[in-house]
Amino acid sequence: MASALDTIAHLIVPNVLKLKGAAMLIGAMERRDASAFAQVWQQTGVEHTPQVSAKEKGDWRFGVMSLPKPSAMGEAYMCAFVTKKNDGSVNRYFTLEYDYVLATKTEKTILCEREGSLTKKRGDGSPITGDFQADASAFVDAIADKL
């Protein structure tokens, strides 16, 4: 059974994206306004005050939100909403997920993208340092390489 954090990252937050659109959410995140996601935490009962950040790279706009610290595979450190500057109808959603390598007994991150009801792995993710702004910036760079 999926954990609460897994469900938030892969079902509830993507549903907010479907309802509001990436352009709207990123616009709010540029102003550090995370109130668009207040209902996610209120209705799931998960205590979390998200940090948000935004960036532009090339033709793309990115909004990054921190998620509660993951403890199991399938849970995510942060998620990103992506749209095009010239086309606000483009809505893409990425997660930076916790992963554990059994062979080496080490932790790492993987970059995933949600497409419909599927979560697709897009390769190794950026490292987590604990500084949200630095981690968000590295996450955006990792996504930009895949776009």
């Binding site: 709207m24 709010a28 540029e30 109130s35 996601f37 005050t49």
Partner: protein
């Protein structure tokens, strides 16, 4: 042929300048990404001094300043800072958007651990008891003549000094709310610059992306992005024909002005820019 919009002065090219405020003599800039988290500079761009670097502070949500104080909401909560980097916490809220009048510091808290700690509040500028004015997810606040203008549940609302509230306009996460009259406001949101008088809305412009907005005298200034038309825009309130003030690659996220100049930050990847107010295109 219309006059060509002038190029702005680049006061600081640092990437990631976000919110901007103006005290008696300095510009106060909050940054993200590759930028110091809080720094000050003279209005000509000289004398740059870092108050908090990325090692001492991870996240600044908002900054507000006047001739008396500088307030920030940041990882350490909401409080007053001085330019030496001393932070005095007034409230524990880390994601508040803030503004002030003579007596109070106002904040909105859109998310939080406890629903009793989500809403709009005020606290005496010198510190003291925090008073909740509005409950529920709230953002984008402005204070004018004792009235609190704020956004909540797809509505821009006003709270009168006696506590009564009423809706002024429908909106979707406005970037800035500007007061034009007791029941007249203007605002920016995704894809729209609009005003409403007596709850009757009017579209002023429809850029693909609209960001910050301020009013100075009879003029509104806002940031917008549109292919080949990105930059800072202005419009006289009595002549609603928008025109480009300054064209540059970034739209204007946070805008402030003194008697002679406009200052703004260039969206999420830009720096700090200025332009004499007299040189608008």
């Amino acid at each position: 042929m219309p006059p060509r919009a002038p190029k702005p002065l680049v006061l600081d090219p640092v990437v990631g300048a976000s919110k901007l405020a103006l005290d008696k003599e300095h510009l106060i800039v909050s940054g993200t990404l590759d930028c110091p988290r809080l720094f000050v500079m003279h209005r000509d761009g000289t004398g740059r001094h870092v108050v908090f670097d990325a090692n001492s502070l991870s996240n600044v949500c908002d900054v507000w300043a006047d001739d008396r104080d500088i307030f920030v909401s940041c990882d350490r909560g909401l409080g007053r800072v001085d330019k030496s980097g001393t932070f005095r916490q007034l409230a524990p809220y880390t994601h508040a958007h803030i503004c002030c009048d003579e007596e109070f510091l106002y904040g909105t808290q859109g998310v939080g651990r406890d629903e009793n700690e989500i809403g709009a509040f005020r606290i005496p500028r010198t510190g003291g008891e925090l008073e909740w004015l509005v409950r529920g997810p709230t953002s984008a606040l402005t204070v004018h003549d004792g009235r609190l203008y704020y956004y909540q549940h797809q509505l821009i609302r006003v709270r009168e000094p006696d506590g009564a509230t009423r809706a002024l306009a429908q909106a979707e996460w406005p970037g800035s709310i500007v007061v034009l009259g007791p029941d007249e406001i203007a605002w920016t949101q995704n894809g729209l610059v609009a005003s409403a008088k007596d709850r009757l809305p009017r579209t002023l412009a429809t850029p693909r992306i609209a960001t910050g907005m301020i009013r100075r005298g009879d003029t509104l200034y806002w940031g917008a992005w549109e292919p080949n038309k990105q930059g800072l825009w202005y419009m006289r309130i009595d002549d609603p024909t928008p025109a480009l003030v300054a064209k540059f690659p970034h739209k204007s996220l946070s805008i402030v002005a003194d008697d002679t100049h406009l200052f703004w930050t260039g969206h999420v990847n830009g720096g700090v820019y200025a332009l004499p107010r007299s040189s608008r295109g």
